[in-house]
């Protein structure tokens, strides 16, 4: 990973996770793992977030919330599915109220498997997401330039 030009902000949402991955995500922001050394800040505001970290599978009720959060985030944005439930539905796949992984509702860029996903894996996933974010940003600004010329 080359140097980072910007400080991406991170939004975390629990779709229908068991909490295990959520506390690991939160753990990443605390002294031992300290994701903030990449310039990342955990924010609660979707309008100011670049990365959406999402845990747990999608159920009937959280579907619209996830859609809304995703649409509220400004372009360019990346989505990281944390934990096996967010990737595929995991052990809860057969439950009557689970539709499947997060990608059944919104596009996912990085998948971090694990039950619960380890902080190291989450950080790795976020770093991957930063690269994708950078690519998306370049593509996005090119598009904007073209728009400006047209």
């Amino acid at each position: 990973m080359a140097k980072l030009a910007k400080s991406p902000w991170l939004l975390h949402y629990d779709a229908s996770s068991c909490n295990g991955c959520d506390i690991e995500v939160l753990d990443c922001t605390t002294p031992r793992y300290d994701i903030e050394r990449f310039g990342i800040i955990n924010t609660g505001d979707p309008f100011q977030a670049d990365i959406l970290l999402i845990t747990g599978g999608i159920n009937n009720q959280c579907e619209s919330v996830v859609r809304q959060l995703y649409s509220q985030m400004p372009d360019p944005k990346v989505v990281v599915a944390v934990g096996i439930c967010a990737c595929t539905g995991g052990v809860f796949k057969d439950c009557y109220n689970i539709k499947g992984g997060v990608d059944t509702v919104i596009p996912v860029d990085v998948y971090v498997p694990g039950c619960a996903a380890r902080p190291q894996a989450i950080i790795d996933g976020v770093v991957k997401a930063l690269e994708i974010l950078e690519q998306k940003r370049e593509a996005y600004s090119e598009k904007q330039e073209q728009k400006g010329r047209a």
């Binding site: 629990d14 996770s17 068991c18 690991e24 924010t43």
Partner: protein
């Protein structure tokens, strides 16, 4: 009468790690009524018991919640052991006690951190979570998992600890006890923390009992009820008293939880001292037939496990009543009359675990 307005709170909110939604009916700044809507994390995993082998279902039971995961597995196993008349080896009972007390320490430290974060006391949050890492390291060393470690099985536990490991746990606990003191001091003596918590959300003992509050919330209202005194696992060999506080406010709830961490340290030390040698698991033959209600004390309070089995390998019904289910009704009562700005903090003081509640 002042004009009423409704403010939606959640599901995505900075102070909440988990989604819950409340409609707050306000008169000016004061809450007059709170209506919860839940179901954002409802998965329906009680239903899975009908299609999974009863021995395999332990893994699902442990995934009800990532914080009290070990306790859920243990409650489910104990319930089946009771139905099948299995006496687990004493060593297994002691190992379960050690792990479940370590879970309590980790859960309470996590809560203390979140409380500090909700008050904007960032450095205290970091300190609590830094300390919590030591317990997670011990989980990692003893079981191979940090959060969900699946060492329970019907008939005992799957992993043993050798003497070196047990002594290492005691060392860690002693070290943590020393490091916890300044943190506890900050919660209990700091002026700004005190001003924020004292007198906030008072729950009277009678009201707590009527609304069905459990766990630290009930004990903070002065009711000495701790399900561990029923003497399951190894608790009948260990020496402890329920920790209570008289005031019933948010500060009392914080105080009770801090003292429970010290209590858990003491219980772990006692268990390591008394643990007998022997096997850790007994073979289980046949299928369960019968029903039982099992009560255990989770970090958030009393949890009920109900299993009804019909002699096949598929259990007919598994029901889990978690502490937060019982703590939400008194919380709604406490919210009446408090300021809008206090709502996030007050919700946090019941230590809500939504994924437990909705399963």
């Amino acid at each position: 009468m002042a004009k009423q307005s409704i403010v939606p709170f959640g599901p995505q909110h900075p102070v909440l790690p988990e989604p819950i939604h409340l409609d707050l009916v306000l008169e000016d700044e004061v809450v007059v009524k709170a209506v919860p809507s839940i179901g954002f994390v409802h998965r329906g995993l009680e239903k899975l018991v009908e299609t999974k082998d009863y021995k395999d279902y332990v893994y699902i039971a442990e995934r009800v919640c990532g914080i009290c995961s070990f306790g859920h597995g243990m409650g489910y196993c104990q319930c089946l052991e009771k139905i099948m008349n299995i006496e687990i080896p004493r060593r297994a009972a002691y190992l379960r006690t050690i792990w479940v007390e370590m879970s309590r320490v980790h859960s309470h430290l996590l809560w203390l951190g979140l409380l500090a974060d909700a008050m904007g006391f960032e450095s205290l949050f970091m300190q609590c979570w830094r300390l919590r890492e030591k317990i997670l390291d011990m989980f990692d060393a003893t079981t191979g998992g940090r959060i969900i470690f699946s060492v329970n099985c019907v008939g005992g536990v799957l992993k043993d600890m050798d003497t070196g490991m047990l002594l290492k746990i005691v060392d860690t606990v002693n070290e943590m006890e020393k490091e916890l003191r300044p943190i506890a001091e900050a919660f209990l003596r700091d002026l700004s923390v005190g001003t924020r918590l004292h007198g906030l959300g008072i729950l009277k003992p009678d009201q707590a009992r009527l609304m069905g509050a459990v766990g630290p919330m009930l004990r903070a209202s002065g009711v000495a009820y701790d399900t561990r005194l029923l003497g399951y696992a190894a608790y009948n060999d260990l020496d402890f008293e329920p920790i209570t506080a008289a005031e019933g406010d948010s500060f009392a709830r914080c105080e009770v939880r801090i003292h429970e961490i010290y209590q858990s340290f003491s219980l772990i030390r006692q268990a390591v001292e008394k643990i007998p040698e022997g096997p850790i698991c007994v073979p289980v033959k046949g299928n369960p037939n019968g029903e039982h209600f099992m009560r255990i004390e989770q970090p958030r309070g009393e949890a009920i496990y109900y299993v009804k089995a019909n002699g096949t390998k598929f259990v007919e019904r598994f029901r889990l009543r978690t502490p937060t289910t019982n703590n939400i009704p008194p919380m709604l009562d406490m919210l009446k009359g408090c300021q809008l700005a206090d709502v996030p903090l007050l919700i946090l003081t019941i230590d809500p675990c939504i994924s437990c509640t909705e399963r």
